[in-house]
Symmetry: C2
Subunit: 179 residues, 2 copies
Protein backbone atom coordinates (compact mmCIF):
# COMPACT_ATOMS: atom_id res chain seq x y z
CA UNK A 1 0.00 0.00 0.00
CA UNK A 2 2.55 2.59 -1.12
CA UNK A 3 0.08 5.24 -2.21
CA UNK A 4 -0.82 5.72 1.44
CA UNK A 5 2.81 6.37 2.33
CA UNK A 6 3.46 8.47 -0.73
CA UNK A 7 0.66 10.79 0.36
CA UNK A 8 1.94 10.91 3.92
CA UNK A 9 5.47 11.66 2.73
CA UNK A 10 4.30 14.48 0.49
CA UNK A 11 2.17 15.99 3.23
CA UNK A 12 5.15 15.78 5.58
CA UNK A 13 6.74 18.47 3.45
CA UNK A 14 3.81 20.87 3.47
CA UNK A 15 0.01 20.85 3.71
CA UNK A 16 -1.67 20.23 0.38
CA UNK A 17 -5.05 19.52 -1.16
CA UNK A 18 -5.99 16.46 -3.17
CA UNK A 19 -5.74 18.63 -6.24
CA UNK A 20 -2.20 19.70 -5.36
CA UNK A 21 -1.20 16.11 -4.69
CA UNK A 22 -2.65 14.99 -8.02
CA UNK A 23 -0.43 17.54 -9.76
CA UNK A 24 2.64 16.32 -7.87
CA UNK A 25 1.95 12.75 -9.03
CA UNK A 26 1.63 14.11 -12.55
CA UNK A 27 4.84 16.12 -12.45
CA UNK A 28 7.77 15.73 -10.08
CA UNK A 29 6.71 12.31 -8.81
CA UNK A 30 5.73 10.92 -12.21
CA UNK A 31 9.07 9.17 -12.62
CA UNK A 32 8.68 7.46 -9.26
CA UNK A 33 5.01 6.78 -8.58
CA UNK A 34 1.78 7.50 -10.36
CA UNK A 35 -1.77 7.90 -9.10
CA UNK A 36 -4.95 9.43 -10.44
CA UNK A 37 -7.25 11.76 -8.52
CA UNK A 38 -9.86 9.01 -8.41
CA UNK A 39 -7.51 7.03 -6.22
CA UNK A 40 -6.13 9.96 -4.24
CA UNK A 41 -9.37 11.45 -2.92
CA UNK A 42 -10.70 8.23 -1.34
CA UNK A 43 -7.27 7.49 0.12
CA UNK A 44 -7.10 10.96 1.69
CA UNK A 45 -10.48 10.32 3.29
CA UNK A 46 -9.21 7.03 4.71
CA UNK A 47 -6.03 8.67 6.03
CA UNK A 48 -8.15 11.38 7.63
CA UNK A 49 -10.44 8.80 9.23
CA UNK A 50 -7.37 6.95 10.49
CA UNK A 51 -6.05 10.14 12.09
CA UNK A 52 -2.85 10.17 10.04
CA UNK A 53 -3.72 13.46 8.37
CA UNK A 54 -6.18 16.21 9.22
CA UNK A 55 -7.87 18.97 7.28
CA UNK A 56 -6.25 22.28 8.18
CA UNK A 57 -7.90 24.69 5.76
CA UNK A 58 -10.81 25.11 3.37
CA UNK A 59 -10.41 27.24 0.27
CA UNK A 60 -12.42 28.39 -2.68
CA UNK A 61 -14.25 25.83 -4.82
CA UNK A 62 -14.49 23.36 -1.98
CA UNK A 63 -10.72 23.07 -1.66
CA UNK A 64 -9.60 21.06 1.37
CA UNK A 65 -6.06 21.32 2.62
CA UNK A 66 -4.63 18.46 4.62
CA UNK A 67 -1.63 18.35 6.94
CA UNK A 68 0.12 15.32 8.36
CA UNK A 69 -0.46 14.58 12.06
CA UNK A 70 2.09 13.29 14.57
CA UNK A 71 0.62 9.82 14.14
CA UNK A 72 1.03 10.18 10.37
CA UNK A 73 4.64 11.27 10.69
CA UNK A 74 5.33 8.33 12.98
CA UNK A 75 3.71 5.99 10.49
CA UNK A 76 5.63 7.21 7.44
CA UNK A 77 8.91 7.01 9.39
CA UNK A 78 8.04 3.50 10.55
CA UNK A 79 7.38 2.51 6.94
CA UNK A 80 10.65 4.02 5.76
CA UNK A 81 12.82 2.52 8.45
CA UNK A 82 11.20 -0.79 9.30
CA UNK A 83 9.92 -2.17 6.02
CA UNK A 84 11.70 -3.21 2.85
CA UNK A 85 10.80 -1.88 -0.58
CA UNK A 86 8.65 -4.00 -2.84
CA UNK A 87 10.91 -4.78 -5.82
CA UNK A 88 8.17 -6.03 -8.13
CA UNK A 89 8.92 -4.94 -11.69
CA UNK A 90 6.43 -4.41 -14.48
CA UNK A 91 7.95 -2.66 -17.45
CA UNK A 92 6.00 -2.99 -20.63
CA UNK A 93 8.70 -1.47 -22.84
CA UNK A 94 11.14 -4.19 -21.75
CA UNK A 95 8.48 -6.84 -22.22
CA UNK A 96 8.28 -5.73 -25.82
CA UNK A 97 12.05 -6.02 -26.20
CA UNK A 98 11.83 -9.57 -24.92
CA UNK A 99 9.49 -10.25 -27.85
CA UNK A 100 11.46 -8.25 -30.39
CA UNK A 101 12.09 -11.41 -32.39
CA UNK A 102 8.36 -11.62 -33.14
CA UNK A 103 8.43 -8.29 -34.95
CA UNK A 104 9.36 -7.68 -38.56
CA UNK A 105 13.02 -6.54 -38.47
CA UNK A 106 12.16 -3.07 -39.74
CA UNK A 107 9.50 -2.67 -37.03
CA UNK A 108 11.92 -3.91 -34.38
CA UNK A 109 14.43 -1.25 -35.40
CA UNK A 110 11.68 1.36 -35.39
CA UNK A 111 10.80 0.32 -31.88
CA UNK A 112 14.36 0.63 -30.62
CA UNK A 113 14.79 3.98 -32.37
CA UNK A 114 11.61 5.13 -30.65
CA UNK A 115 12.95 3.95 -27.32
CA UNK A 116 16.20 5.84 -27.79
CA UNK A 117 14.33 8.96 -28.80
CA UNK A 118 11.96 8.68 -25.85
CA UNK A 119 14.72 8.24 -23.29
CA UNK A 120 16.90 10.92 -24.91
CA UNK A 121 14.00 13.38 -24.71
CA UNK A 122 13.28 12.50 -21.12
CA UNK A 123 16.98 12.85 -20.31
CA UNK A 124 16.95 16.33 -21.78
CA UNK A 125 14.00 17.37 -19.68
CA UNK A 126 15.52 15.96 -16.51
CA UNK A 127 18.87 17.64 -17.19
CA UNK A 128 17.12 20.92 -17.68
CA UNK A 129 15.37 20.56 -14.33
CA UNK A 130 18.66 19.58 -12.69
CA UNK A 131 20.46 22.62 -14.08
CA UNK A 132 17.86 25.09 -12.89
CA UNK A 133 18.34 26.68 -9.48
CA UNK A 134 16.94 24.59 -6.62
CA UNK A 135 16.30 25.15 -2.94
CA UNK A 136 18.61 23.65 -0.36
CA UNK A 137 15.96 22.37 2.03
CA UNK A 138 16.18 18.67 2.91
CA UNK A 139 13.17 17.66 0.82
CA UNK A 140 14.60 19.38 -2.26
CA UNK A 141 17.92 17.68 -1.71
CA UNK A 142 16.20 14.28 -1.61
CA UNK A 143 14.30 15.17 -4.75
CA UNK A 144 17.61 16.09 -6.40
CA UNK A 145 19.08 12.71 -5.48
CA UNK A 146 16.02 10.99 -6.95
CA UNK A 147 16.30 13.14 -10.06
CA UNK A 148 19.92 12.08 -10.43
CA UNK A 149 18.76 8.47 -10.54
CA UNK A 150 16.29 9.44 -13.25
CA UNK A 151 18.97 11.22 -15.28
CA UNK A 152 21.35 8.28 -15.10
CA UNK A 153 18.51 5.87 -15.82
CA UNK A 154 17.41 7.71 -18.95
CA UNK A 155 20.97 8.12 -20.21
CA UNK A 156 21.64 4.42 -19.65
CA UNK A 157 18.52 3.35 -21.50
CA UNK A 158 19.06 5.75 -24.39
CA UNK A 159 22.60 4.39 -24.77
CA UNK A 160 21.32 0.86 -24.41
CA UNK A 161 18.75 1.38 -27.17
CA UNK A 162 21.50 2.68 -29.46
CA UNK A 163 23.61 -0.35 -28.57
CA UNK A 164 20.68 -2.70 -29.22
CA UNK A 165 20.15 -1.11 -32.62
CA UNK A 166 23.80 -1.70 -33.49
CA UNK A 167 23.55 -5.20 -32.01
CA UNK A 168 20.65 -6.05 -34.30
CA UNK A 169 22.62 -4.80 -37.27
CA UNK A 170 21.37 -2.92 -40.31
CA UNK A 171 19.70 -5.92 -41.89
CA UNK A 172 19.72 -8.90 -39.60
CA UNK A 173 22.64 -9.77 -37.30
CA UNK A 174 26.13 -8.63 -38.20
CA UNK A 175 29.40 -9.42 -36.41
CA UNK A 176 32.76 -7.80 -35.80
CA UNK A 177 31.37 -4.43 -34.80
CA UNK A 178 32.65 -3.46 -31.35
CA UNK A 179 30.10 -2.64 -28.65
Amino acid sequence: MSLRHALLGLLAERPMSGYDLTKVFDSSLAYVWSAKHSQIYPELARLRDAGLIRQVAAGARGRKEYAITDAGLTEVRRWLQETSPDRTVRDESFLRVFFLWLMEPAKARDYLRGEEEYHRAKLGRYEEIASSPASEDPASRSARITLEAGIRHERTLADWAAWALRHLGGRGPRRGVPD
Copy 2:
Protein backbone atom coordinates in the same frame (compact mmCIF):
# COMPACT_ATOMS: atom_id res chain seq x y z
CA MET B 1 -3.67 -5.90 -20.31
CA SER B 2 -0.03 -6.88 -20.74
CA LEU B 3 -0.22 -10.24 -18.99
CA ARG B 4 -2.32 -11.51 -21.86
CA HIS B 5 0.36 -10.51 -24.37
CA ALA B 6 3.20 -11.70 -22.19
CA LEU B 7 1.62 -15.17 -22.16
CA LEU B 8 1.06 -15.10 -25.92
CA GLY B 9 4.65 -14.00 -26.53
CA LEU B 10 6.06 -16.75 -24.35
CA LEU B 11 3.88 -19.39 -25.99
CA ALA B 12 5.01 -18.11 -29.40
CA GLU B 13 8.43 -19.51 -28.53
CA ARG B 14 7.28 -22.96 -27.51
CA PRO B 15 4.24 -24.72 -26.01
CA MET B 16 4.17 -24.54 -22.23
CA SER B 17 1.95 -25.30 -19.26
CA GLY B 18 0.74 -22.79 -16.70
CA TYR B 19 3.30 -24.22 -14.34
CA ASP B 20 6.10 -23.65 -16.85
CA LEU B 21 4.91 -20.11 -17.47
CA THR B 22 4.80 -19.39 -13.75
CA LYS B 23 8.44 -20.41 -13.51
CA VAL B 24 9.38 -18.16 -16.41
CA PHE B 25 7.75 -15.20 -14.66
CA ASP B 26 9.71 -16.12 -11.56
CA SER B 27 13.05 -16.43 -13.33
CA SER B 28 14.05 -15.02 -16.71
CA LEU B 29 11.08 -12.64 -16.96
CA ALA B 30 11.22 -11.48 -13.35
CA TYR B 31 13.17 -8.35 -14.31
CA VAL B 32 10.56 -7.42 -16.89
CA TRP B 33 7.14 -8.57 -15.74
CA SER B 34 5.81 -10.50 -12.80
CA ALA B 35 2.71 -12.63 -12.35
CA LYS B 36 1.56 -15.29 -9.91
CA HIS B 37 0.00 -18.60 -10.85
CA SER B 38 -3.32 -17.39 -9.45
CA GLN B 39 -3.41 -14.83 -12.23
CA ILE B 40 -1.88 -17.00 -14.93
CA TYR B 41 -4.28 -19.96 -14.82
CA PRO B 42 -7.47 -17.93 -15.25
CA GLU B 43 -5.86 -15.86 -18.01
CA LEU B 44 -4.83 -19.03 -19.88
CA ALA B 45 -8.45 -20.19 -19.68
CA ARG B 46 -9.61 -16.88 -21.13
CA LEU B 47 -7.02 -17.03 -23.93
CA ARG B 48 -8.13 -20.58 -24.70
CA ASP B 49 -11.77 -19.56 -24.80
CA ALA B 50 -10.85 -16.66 -27.07
CA GLY B 51 -9.09 -19.07 -29.44
CA LEU B 52 -5.70 -17.37 -29.09
CA ILE B 53 -4.10 -20.47 -27.61
CA ARG B 54 -5.13 -24.13 -27.56
CA GLN B 55 -4.28 -27.11 -25.41
CA VAL B 56 -1.91 -29.39 -27.32
CA ALA B 57 -0.99 -31.99 -24.70
CA ALA B 58 -1.96 -33.40 -21.34
CA GLY B 59 0.70 -34.72 -18.99
CA ALA B 60 1.00 -36.32 -15.61
CA ARG B 61 -0.58 -34.63 -12.59
CA GLY B 62 -3.16 -32.88 -14.71
CA ARG B 63 -0.55 -30.97 -16.67
CA LYS B 64 -1.97 -29.03 -19.63
CA GLU B 65 0.29 -27.78 -22.35
CA TYR B 66 -0.82 -24.85 -24.44
CA ALA B 67 0.39 -23.65 -27.83
CA ILE B 68 -0.30 -20.35 -29.54
CA THR B 69 -2.75 -20.38 -32.45
CA ASP B 70 -2.53 -18.39 -35.68
CA ALA B 71 -5.04 -15.96 -34.22
CA GLY B 72 -2.86 -15.61 -31.12
CA LEU B 73 0.25 -14.96 -33.16
CA THR B 74 -1.61 -12.33 -35.15
CA GLU B 75 -2.81 -10.72 -31.94
CA VAL B 76 0.61 -10.56 -30.26
CA ARG B 77 2.12 -9.09 -33.45
CA ARG B 78 -0.66 -6.55 -33.67
CA TRP B 79 0.00 -5.57 -30.07
CA LEU B 80 3.74 -5.24 -30.67
CA GLN B 81 3.48 -3.24 -33.85
CA GLU B 82 0.33 -1.18 -33.47
CA THR B 83 0.22 -0.16 -29.83
CA SER B 84 2.54 1.96 -27.69
CA PRO B 85 4.01 0.76 -24.42
CA ASP B 86 2.42 1.91 -21.21
CA ARG B 87 5.14 3.99 -19.52
CA THR B 88 3.53 4.09 -16.08
CA VAL B 89 6.22 3.92 -13.40
CA ARG B 90 5.79 2.65 -9.85
CA ASP B 91 9.10 2.14 -8.13
CA GLU B 92 8.88 1.90 -4.39
CA SER B 93 12.64 2.06 -3.84
CA PHE B 94 12.78 5.45 -5.57
CA LEU B 95 9.74 6.62 -3.66
CA ARG B 96 11.72 5.99 -0.51
CA VAL B 97 14.64 8.02 -1.83
CA PHE B 98 12.26 10.89 -2.46
CA PHE B 99 11.48 10.75 1.27
CA LEU B 100 15.06 10.21 2.39
CA TRP B 101 15.00 13.53 4.24
CA LEU B 102 12.38 12.06 6.62
CA MET B 103 14.78 9.38 7.81
CA GLU B 104 17.39 9.70 10.49
CA PRO B 105 20.69 10.38 8.63
CA ALA B 106 22.19 7.07 9.73
CA LYS B 107 19.13 5.18 8.49
CA ALA B 108 19.21 7.06 5.20
CA ARG B 109 22.82 6.00 4.66
CA ASP B 110 21.90 2.43 5.58
CA TYR B 111 19.16 2.51 3.00
CA LEU B 112 21.46 3.74 0.23
CA ARG B 113 24.11 1.20 1.19
CA GLY B 114 21.44 -1.49 0.99
CA GLU B 115 20.40 -0.22 -2.43
CA GLU B 116 23.97 -0.34 -3.71
CA GLU B 117 24.43 -3.83 -2.34
CA TYR B 118 21.16 -5.02 -3.84
CA HIS B 119 21.90 -3.66 -7.30
CA ARG B 120 25.53 -4.82 -7.17
CA ALA B 121 24.36 -8.36 -6.31
CA LYS B 122 21.78 -8.34 -9.06
CA LEU B 123 24.39 -7.04 -11.49
CA GLY B 124 26.64 -9.94 -10.57
CA ARG B 125 23.92 -12.47 -11.23
CA TYR B 126 23.00 -10.90 -14.56
CA GLU B 127 26.63 -10.75 -15.67
CA GLU B 128 27.02 -14.40 -14.82
CA ILE B 129 24.00 -15.26 -16.95
CA ALA B 130 25.33 -13.08 -19.77
CA SER B 131 28.73 -14.77 -19.70
CA SER B 132 27.33 -18.30 -19.89
CA PRO B 133 26.89 -19.85 -23.32
CA ALA B 134 23.57 -19.00 -24.95
CA SER B 135 21.67 -20.21 -27.98
CA GLU B 136 21.59 -18.15 -31.12
CA ASP B 137 17.90 -18.52 -31.89
CA PRO B 138 15.97 -15.25 -32.33
CA ALA B 139 14.14 -15.50 -29.00
CA SER B 140 17.42 -16.00 -27.12
CA ARG B 141 18.93 -13.03 -28.92
CA SER B 142 16.01 -10.85 -27.84
CA ALA B 143 16.38 -12.14 -24.31
CA ARG B 144 20.08 -11.24 -24.44
CA ILE B 145 19.24 -7.70 -25.54
CA THR B 146 16.77 -7.41 -22.66
CA LEU B 147 19.38 -8.79 -20.27
CA GLU B 148 21.84 -6.16 -21.47
CA ALA B 149 19.34 -3.50 -20.42
CA GLY B 150 19.12 -5.17 -17.02
CA ILE B 151 22.90 -5.26 -16.65
CA ARG B 152 23.30 -1.61 -17.55
CA HIS B 153 20.35 -0.70 -15.34
CA GLU B 154 21.76 -2.46 -12.28
CA ARG B 155 25.23 -1.04 -12.82
CA THR B 156 23.81 2.45 -13.19
CA LEU B 157 21.75 2.19 -10.02
CA ALA B 158 24.60 0.67 -8.00
CA ASP B 159 26.85 3.52 -9.09
CA TRP B 160 24.08 6.01 -8.42
CA ALA B 161 23.61 4.69 -4.87
CA ALA B 162 27.34 5.07 -4.25
CA TRP B 163 27.17 8.61 -5.63
CA ALA B 164 24.13 9.41 -3.44
CA LEU B 165 25.98 8.16 -0.39
CA ARG B 166 28.92 10.47 -1.19
CA HIS B 167 26.46 13.25 -1.99
CA LEU B 168 24.87 12.95 1.44
CA GLY B 169 28.29 13.07 3.05
CA GLY B 170 29.54 11.19 6.07
CA ARG B 171 27.62 13.22 8.61
CA GLY B 172 25.14 15.55 7.00
CA PRO B 173 25.91 17.46 3.78
CA ARG B 174 29.49 18.26 2.89
CA ARG B 175 30.76 20.22 -0.12
CA GLY B 176 33.78 20.30 -2.38
CA VAL B 177 33.85 16.56 -3.02
CA PRO B 178 33.77 15.86 -6.77
CA ASP B 179 31.09 13.59 -8.16
